[in-house]
């Protein structure tokens, strides 16, 4: 589904990704781990198309489309979803309005009619119940005054509504208490399906206790230095990242 080949990317002139390659097939869950500054978030932003990052070499192919040719909104409509590490507040803009605009933008792209208000509300309430969210959230400003946990749940709600083919969750687990973590994990697990891929960018192992990955990759200095199955994550938890760095250099 997603093929990243030998990609190099810079921000403000300094190179963050230095020859990263990754293959993600439909139905798989990948975990990207690594120390701070290793390029995990950059990878997520590059796939989503943030204009601050410049791709200087390599290619990103998604379902046979050259992703680097597309605007961020086009990528989103093609089914790519990024769960942000720091979801931004948009004061005054109703959560429901944003959700519906997003959903309709995608439906329009797929040649479908806009979703009507009742159907939308029904769908949203269903998903919110699953995530243990108060329906009042819909009428609040987007992330406006939300706690850290509420923001992350809101990201998962958007993902559940938009039903992406490829979901990249950037440190969605950070700063969550155990209940919120469980709710987020349930949201992710509910989305697992043979025609969908999920990439979890995370610093810690604990989310992986709830969402079991098929593949684990360790990032260091802009490259994947080790790949393995879920046991790799446990090994990391034991030995720390220094071990990886030494292994990579040695």
């Amino acid at each position: 589904m997603l093929q990243i080949k030998d990609i190099h990317a810079t921000i403000g002139g300094s190179e963050i990704l230095r020859g990263l390659s990754l293959d993600v097939a439909a139905g798989e869950v990948h975990a990207i781990m690594g120390p701070n500054g290793s390029g995990k978030s950059t990878l997520a932003q590059v796939v989503a198309g943030h204009s601050d990052y410049e791709v200087t070499a390599g290619s990103v192919t998604y379902r046979d489309i050259d992703l680097l040719d597309l605007e961020p909104e086009e990528r989103a409509r093609e089914g790519i979803f990024l769960g942000f590490q720091y979801p931004v507040e948009i004061p005054g803009v109703n959560n429901a309005v944003l959700l519906r605009s997003a959903l309709n933008a995608k439906r329009k792209h797929q040649g479908l009619d806009e979703i009507d208000a009742f159907e939308f509300l029904k769908l949203a309430k269903e998903k919110m119940a699953m995530l243990g969210m108060d329906p009042k959230f819909l009428n609040r400003g987007v992330n406006e005054g939300f706690s850290g946990g509420e923001k992350k749940r809101n990201e998962i709600l958007q993902m559940a509504m938009l039903e992406p083919s490829l979901a990249i969750l950037d440190e969605t687990d950070s700063g969550l208490d155990i209940d919120a973590l469980r709710a987020v994990a349930e949201g992710v697990n509910a989305l697992r399906s043979p025609d969908r891929a999920i990439v979890l960018v995370t610093h810690y192992q604990r989310l992986l206790d709830y969402v079991e990955p098929d593949h684990v990759h360790v990032l260091s200095e802009g490259r994947i230095v080790r790949s393995g199955d879920k046991t790799l994550a446990l090994e990391l938890e034991d030995k720390g990242y220094d071990w990886v760095r030494e292994a990579a250099n040695g």
């Binding site: 605007e71 948009i90 933008a105």
Partner: protein
């Protein structure tokens, strides 16, 4: 900014390049202003003697006055002797013959705003037969109003048909020498609207200049007077969301509202005059004096405005809260893009007991536009229990625009409760990226954010106006990001 200066200079001199006076000289007065010109204007309009006297008094006072310079706007000096103060409507030969001759960009805008075809022709100044669909509508409209006893006519007609009302109320809210532009308007005003709602009458429909026959060519010095007698109610809509072309560059209108005991006036404006091109060329200068007088107890005046047009806007719709328990409201959205400048706000003067006022001002700046909010809240010593709440928010789009807030408070009654909140925010790149990552285009994202920002004001507008205002905002901010 040498080019900006040159552009503005060019624009000031522009009118005369086209020499619109020459061919129809018999119908227009040559540029210049003196007592003779005022007598000529009054004579052409067949005005009664009192009206001429009133104009002349205003003119003599104007001669002693100086153009205000305190506003946060910049433009080259205006030569008031270089303006023609009476111009007959353009003859059909001078107008575009069909929409094919009209600037395609303007037509594109009409299309985006969803303006009906026959309206487009009228707005673009195309010479068309005067048989609009709207004429029959207007007739039914007039019948309904006269049944209710509501007078709604052009100002000239009111001067002739209802001189006693005009005499009683004209200048009673905005005195002739109130300010430089109000004095000029009082001397030379061309035409405008007059409304009188009798005691206890609730005006059966929203009054709109759109339905007033002969609304076209009210000229650059418009005069409006609305009187709501005791216990009456009227809602008045001014303007149109469509961009209006006008060959007059300087506009100095005066609007006076009088609400007697228990009466309520709701005045909504959507102003979308030509702002000039992307470099600020050719736009309208809009220097307006709008004031409402809550003269009776329990009266209420509410101003709602959406300002997107004009090169320069200088405008402070105000309320004098004279009657006890009277209420003044000001809800405003002002949008400035490219080189537009706006200095706008309101004044709330609390005189009566338990008077209250609400100010909600939303300013949006994009491009190189400059915008200032200027608000005065004055509580007089006798205004026991006066309350004011002011909320003043600015939204910036891009790096080269500016927003400025000048709140003035003069509180002479220690028991008054006055609150002021102000915020300035930017549409951040991160907000836009967030929306785009959800599949929403950049333009739609800007609209979403701007509409969210203006929500409180839009909900005060009459329903269909609110929908139009949203469309208008998105057109005004087109290309603001990117």
């Amino acid at each position: 900014m040498a080019t900006e200066q040159e552009n503005l200079e060019q624009l000031v001199n522009r009118r005369y390049e086209h020499g619109f006076v020459t061919d129809i000289a018999t119908e227009s007065l040559p540029p210049g202003l003196d007592e003779g010109v005022i007598r000529a204007i009054s004579a052409r309009k067949n005005e009664p003697e009192f009206m001429l006297e009133w104009r002349l008094r205003a003119y003599r006072q104007w001669l002693d006055m100086k153009e205000p310079e305190w506003a946060h706007v910049h433009y080259p000096p205006i030569d008031f002797q270089d303006i023609s103060y009476f111009a007959a409507p353009k003859s059909d030969e001078d107008r575009p013959k069909s929409l094919d001759e009209v600037d395609p960009k303007l037509l594109e805008t009409y299309d985006k705003l969803g303006i009906p075809l026959h309206e487009r022709a009228r707005l673009a100044g195309v010479a068309v037969d005067a048989v609009f669909d709207s004429v029959s509508v207007a007739t039914t409209f007039k019948e309904k109003l006269s049944e209710a006893g509501v007078i709604f006519c052009s100002f000239s007609e009111a001067v002739r048909e209802h001189p006693e009302l005009v005499r009683k109320y004209l200048g009673s809210v905005v005195p002739q020498r109130d300010n430089f532009y109000a004095a000029l308007n009082s001397a030379v005003f061309s035409d405008g609207s007059f409304v009188y709602v009798p005691k206890g009458v609730r005006c059966p429909m929203e009054l709109s200049t759109y339905f007033r026959i002969n609304a076209a060519n009210t000229g650059q010095f418009e005069r409006t007077l609305i009187v709501a007698d005791e216990g009456s109610y009227v809602s008045y809509l001014e303007g149109c969301t469509a961009p209006m072309r006008d060959e007059n560059q300087l506009h100095a209108a005066v609007v006076e509202l009088v609400a007697l005991g228990d009466a309520e006036i709701k005045y909504s404006t959507v102003q979308n005059w030509y702002p000039g091109d992307e470099e600020g060329k050719g736009g309208i200068y809009n220097f307006v004096t709008k004031r409402g007088d809550c003269r009776g107890a329990n009266s209420k005046i509410s101003w709602t405005q959406v300002e997107t047009g004009s090169a320069i806007t200088w405008k402070y719709p105000s309320c004098i809260l004279r009657g006890d328990n009277s209420v003044g409201e000001f809800y405003s959205v002002a949008v400035t893009n490219n080189y537009q400048q706006a200095d706008t706000g309101t004044k709330m003067i609390h005189i009566g007991k338990n008077t209250s006022s609400t100010i909600v001002s939303k300013g949006i700046s994009a491009g190189r536009a400059q915008q200032a909010y200027r608000g005065l809240v004055r509580v007089m010593p006798q205004a026991q229990g006066a309350r004011n709440h002011t909320q003043c928010d600015s939204l910036l789009i891009g790096k080269e625009c500016g927003a400025h807030t000048f709140p003035y408070m003069e509180i002479k009654n220690p028991g008054a409760k006055v609150e002021h909140e102000a915020t300035t925010s930017k549409i951040s790149a991160n907000q836009l990226f967030y929306c785009r990552q959800r599949g929403i285009s950049e333009e739609d994202a800007v609209n979403l954010i701007v509409n969210g920002f203006c929500k409180e004001v839009f909900k005060e507008l009459p329903m269909e106006f609110a929908v139009e205002a949203q469309a208008l905002l998105s057109v005004s901010l087109e290309g603001a990001v990117g």
